[in-house]
Symmetry: C2
Subunit: 346 residues, 2 copies
């Protein structure tokens, strides 16, 4: 069998660490390098950073360029920033070293709406250097775009698509509960939105744009509404804090894709404590109407690690360019040695 | 804009007629020819055959070769037989005329299991003549293979996949109700299975093989069980017949994909009268477990027409060869002029 797929990790925050551990769990892939800008990580063995009881022989560095040139990875996993502009220099460095890219960067998942010129520029650059670049994750990248797009494949006509994620935030990490304003008074909540400390879910606009792109819909605009707090009716105790009645249990983030003055794509992201039922639901008004539900929903952190890992062989197999989930073959679990999914020589 | 996509129809049974009407409803595609072997159709205008009140200027012929050479279609829609061997000569004729193919032929949807040699031969032929060939439909092609494959994309690990279609046959066409043995005594039902008049659902083996192919699983075998009757506990009246207690209300078809001695893919197709709730459900045992349901299910006839129409631009865009749903980009509704989805010049 061919050599193992060589992966370089960029970003060792909670998500980067989870992805790195996921790669170590898979056959046919290995981590050949890891980059993080945090000073306290530089020079440490990746095994230590991941909390393993063994060294991996991979030293964390803050020098991306040297690492790319030295380790010649097949693919870079970039789990750093949400902003496309922020990761653009790294995308360029990867392309120039002929390294494919898969990234959790939300704005990269479908950049043709928010950053059309930069998207075209990245696409040209990727083609010039014969590399493939994909932004993905569970959301954006799967639950609110790829999956609803796939579901429209069973329809003769589609008038409107509504996607709703209902997530019980009390089951999630404490930083997540904090990020969605759990326990704040409405005034505190609004101030933190104004101060951009509470951002709501990032990526709804990208998901709406990807759906529209797949369906060939020209949208008038994508309206992203500021996050709204959910207000507790009674005292709610979570592992993070106690929410008093009248305070926020979490938030909802909503975006509408508008076409001919109507909301034709409605994306609703709910994350709060005291949720009756978790789910990921898609409903399509069309011929036929379709109502689909993932009962219990998909856990966001696990899901993003899964989608990133699962798409690695598909990125390696794809034609060069900036690609999006709608352009690639069906997502599928990387269940066996990662090399069995490869189609072409690296 | 480019010329309309030229479609040739092969087979004008109920499904072929529904697909032809679907094409007429879409912008950017036109039917340039229609072939059927039924003598009473030859020479008739397609508009008459479709029951329209206007002629379409397309005469139904029984000469496939002449039609292909004369009309030079972009794509042939083949809605004739379930057997790959039966449609193989027509696939060859299409390829030699450089015409792409999309077909409802169940065995073409994933032929690498039942007909590995013929599949490779068709793939080579398609590549030689630079055409793309796809077999698809709602099932096989979507509900019990493409959709479950897509769902595994959110998983880190998958141990077992169970797909269940529960269909209320009393809402379906009378020939369908007849085909599943509605109203028969258990003895009559078994005799009609022995005589191969009742075949159960065709395509479960292909769906199981496609899932295994996508996941990189080598199966020991695919077990297709003979259809079993559902037995009425009380008198049930359907638009087709009255089912007495003790007689069949319909059937179930089951197939298991076996791996290391265990059922890892379980496909269950239920079609009978007196159904409490229609649904299409997928459950995945893995990390995480996923339970997904399309509430109310997807109507088989509408669904197959939808999948065939929706995949036409994706076939035209694809690289040459025998392709399957797992290799192509995400299915999505053909909502606008079909030409907006085309990537390359014909």
């Amino acid at each position: 069998m061919a050599n193992e797929i060589k992966v370089a990790m960029f970003g060792l925050g909670p998500l980067g660490i989870a992805i790195a551990k996921g790669i170590l769990d898979k056959k046919g892939m290995k981590i050949v390098g890891a980059v993080d800008i945090a000073e306290d990580l530089t020079g440490k063995d990746l095994g230590t950073v991941l909390g393993l009881d063994r060294p991996l022989g991979v030293m964390v560095t803050n020098n991306a360029h040297r690492l790319l040139a030295k380790t010649k990875p097949d693919i870079a996993v970039i789990a750093t920033k949400s902003s496309l502009k922020a990761i653009h220099p790294l995308l360029t460095a990867c392309a120039k070293n002929r390294v494919d890219v898969i990234s959790t960067c939300e704005e990269l998942s479908y950049p043709y709406c928010r950053h059309p010129d930069l998207a075209k520029q990245i696409d040209r650059m990727a083609k010039k250097h014969d590399v493939t670049i994909l932004g993905t994750g569970i959301n954006p990248g799967y639950l609110m775009d790829a999956l609803p797009i796939t579901l429209t494949g069973a329809c003769l006509k589609v008038e409107k698509i509504t996607v709703r994620r209902m997530m019980d935030s009390s089951k999630r990490r404490v930083p997540f509960q904090k990020k969605i304003g759990t326990g704040l008074t409405p005034e505190e909540f609004r101030k933190m939105i104004d101060d951009k400390i509470i951002t709501g879910h990032v990526g709804l606009a990208e998901s709406a744009a990807m759906i529209a792109g797949a369906l060939g819909w020209k949208l008038d605009e994508i309206r992203e509404f500021p996050p709204e707090p959910f207000i507790a009716q009674k005292t709610i105790v979570t592992p993070y804090t106690t929410v008093k009645p009248g305070c926020a249990t979490g938030l909802k983030s909503v975006a509408h894709g508008m076409r001919n003055g109507k909301s034709v794509i409605v994306l609703e992201f709910f994350a709060h404590a005291d949720v009756e039922e978790e789910f990921d639901a898609i409903s399509i008004e069309g011929v036929p109407n379709l109502n689909q539900k993932i009962i219990g929903g998909v856990h966001g952190d696990t899901g993003t690690v899964a989608v990133i890992l699962n798409m690695i062989p598909k990125v390696l197999n794809a034609d060069a360019g900036l690609v999006t989930m709608k352009d690639l073959p069906l997502p599928s679990v990387l269940s066996e040695d990662a090399r069995v999914y490869l189609r072409r020589k690296r």
